[in-house]
């Protein structure tokens, strides 16, 4: 079966990214857009574009009926969900399949299984993949307090259905745990429609490393190396690189093995990412599995030379992988910088009109942008407006090129985190490639 027309159920840079691959393959594209987005590049780039509602996400990008109607009207044969929005919504995936369309993603059952973090943890424990010391579903604040007393603080309270840094809170003492329990529960209910919470031991000076995996319908599971994602603010990633500059070779191999074991345990299909957290001694634990294309997939593309969206389309078309694990290329190094429309100090959102938006081009520079000069960055969606991916022969070259590149961005009309990105590039820990999730907080305190 071959894919001829893809509806991209997303917006911004990732919608453009997906359409670029479709276009190269001669596949037609359909954009769906909210009233706030009618002037954005992804709407113009698509062969057809269908308005699906007013700006709030509940009335547009999360509105399943409107998206399925758009697919029917335009006779799209497939749906690519991108990341965020409906990408990890098992019921949406099921409805897409029920409508007779191809779902460019893993099986709905896997999405549900990994989307519920309590179930995901249990599945991994059974598969022999180490998980962060933690609990099952909590029945009450009292149960959380009792467990935290046993383990010692700090602990992290998390929404089972959560993700993307929302619905989690680090608690350093009993009073804090008691006081945030109900607000985290409420938020989990409001954002994810599920108030189920669990508790994890919080690891200080931790590193976030994730493994890209790919599985075809013939039982072949490959890994496409790892990404180091420890530069974060508010539990959201800011800079990612591949491969990790700090972990030992021995740990690397163990991570790949664990990621493949995780993928096997859920009978995975398509592209996915297994996230791990590493402590100072490089003990690692499963955090979660992202059953979709990751924001930071371009760093993997840079070091392998692959087009991961093309891989997704191939798997969805039922094609087997042509390469074996030992044939996966590895060349040089790559770092991705996320450009956020936000105040670089307080991280408050900064929507507004982009009076200027210019960036350099050249060897080893890739910019995936969701906006262009003259667009308005709306307050309704994620603050990430572009990603800058810099690659080169080795990490040192990439660091130099990154600085040159970021200094030549010109963004006017809104505030961005560019000054923060440049400061991180100069931080001695970042330069030597050994840093943990506290890097940005440390920078702010200096």
């Amino acid at each position: 079966m071959s894919i001829r027309k893809v509806l991209v159920a997303n917006r911004g840079e990732i919608a453009c990214r997906i359409m670029r691959t479709c276009r190269e393959r001669g596949v037609k594209t359909v954009a769906v857009f909210s009233d706030a987005d009618r002037d954005l590049p992804f709407v113009k780039m698509a062969d057809e574009a269908v308005p699906i509602g007013p700006p709030p996400v509940a009335q547009s990008y999360l509105k399943v009926e409107a998206i399925l109607q758009a697919a029917e009207k335009t006779e799209a044969d497939s749906i690519h969900p991108g990341y965020g929005f409906l990408s990890e919504n098992a019921s949406f995936a099921e409805q897409v399949l029920k409508a007779g369309l191809t779902w460019i993603g893993p099986k709905p059952f896997t999405i549900a299984q990994m989307g519920d973090k309590v179930t995901a943890r249990q599945t991994m424990i059974e598969a022999g993949v180490p998980v962060v010391p933690g609990s099952g579903a909590l029945s009450s604040a009292e149960e959380a307090v009792r467990l935290a007393r046993e383990w010692g603080y700090p602990v992290m309270i998390k929404a089972s259905a959560g993700g993307g840094g929302i619905g989690m809170h680090v608690c350093r003492g009993e009073e804090e745990l008691r006081s945030v329990f109900s607000s985290v529960k409420q938020k989990a209910q409001a954002y994810f429609g599920d108030g189920k919470l669990f508790l994890e031991k919080w690891l200080p000076r931790a590193r976030h490393v994730e493994v890209q995996i790919a599985a075809d319908a013939f039982g072949n599971i490959l890994h496409l190396y790892e990404r180091e994602c420890s530069v974060q603010r508010r539990n959201q990633k800011v800079i990612e690189e591949s491969r990790s500059p700090s972990i030992r070779e021995e740990t690397r191999q163990k991570l790949y093995d664990a990621a493949i074991r995780a993928a096997k345990a859920v009978n995975y299909l398509g592209l996915g990412t297994v996230e791990f957290i590493l402590d100072e001694s490089e003990q690692f634990y499963f955090l979660e599995m992202n059953t979709r294309l990751q924001v930071e997939h371009p760093v993997t593309e840079a070091i392998t030379g692959f087009d991961l969206v093309a891989w997704q389309l191939d798997v969805a078309e039922g094609k087997p992988f042509k390469l074996k694990q030992e044939e996966i290329p590895l060349q040089g190094h790559a770092i991705e910088f996320r450009l956020y429309a936000e105040d670089p100090v307080r991280f408050y959102p900064s929507p507004g009109k982009l009076n200027a938006f210019q960036f350099p081009a050249g060897d080893g520079i890739r910019v995936d942008a969701g906006v262009e000069e003259g667009n308005t960055v709306s307050p309704f969606y994620d603050p990430m407006i572009a990603k800058c991916i810099v690659s080169g022969c080795n990490r040192m070259e990439v660091l130099q090129r990154s600085r040159f590149t970021l200094e030549r961005f010109r963004v006017e009309g809104i505030r961005t985190n560019l000054p923060l990105l440049l400061r991180i590039l100069e931080h001695p820990d970042f330069v030597r490639g050994h840093y943990h999730t506290g890097l940005i907080a440390d920078l702010k305190n200096e």
Partner: protein, 73 residues
């Protein structure tokens, strides 16, 4: 009189005070939501809330007046 204005464009998630309430300088009075983030807005000075200009769910622009305080001299 003093005005409390929006620190950014966004949706009013909650209004934490009502007319007649006494607020202190630095107290959170409104929570705005923008780009998936909640940002509290504080009263810059203390006073009595004389008027609330927005309601929950309404959209405000950067610098828009959220509430009016009468300030004791």
């Amino acid at each position: 009189m003093a005005e409390v204005t929006a620190s950014m464009a966004g949706t009013v998630l909650s209004v934490l005070v009502a007319p007649g309430d006494r607020v202190e300088a630095g107290q959170d009075v409104v929570i705005l939501e923008s780009m998936k983030m909640e940002v509290p807005v504080q009263a810059e000075q203390g006073g009595i809330v004389s008027e609330v200009k927005v309601e929950e769910g309404s959209f405000v622009g950067d610098g828009e007046v959220l509430l009016v305080l009468s300030v004791e001299s």
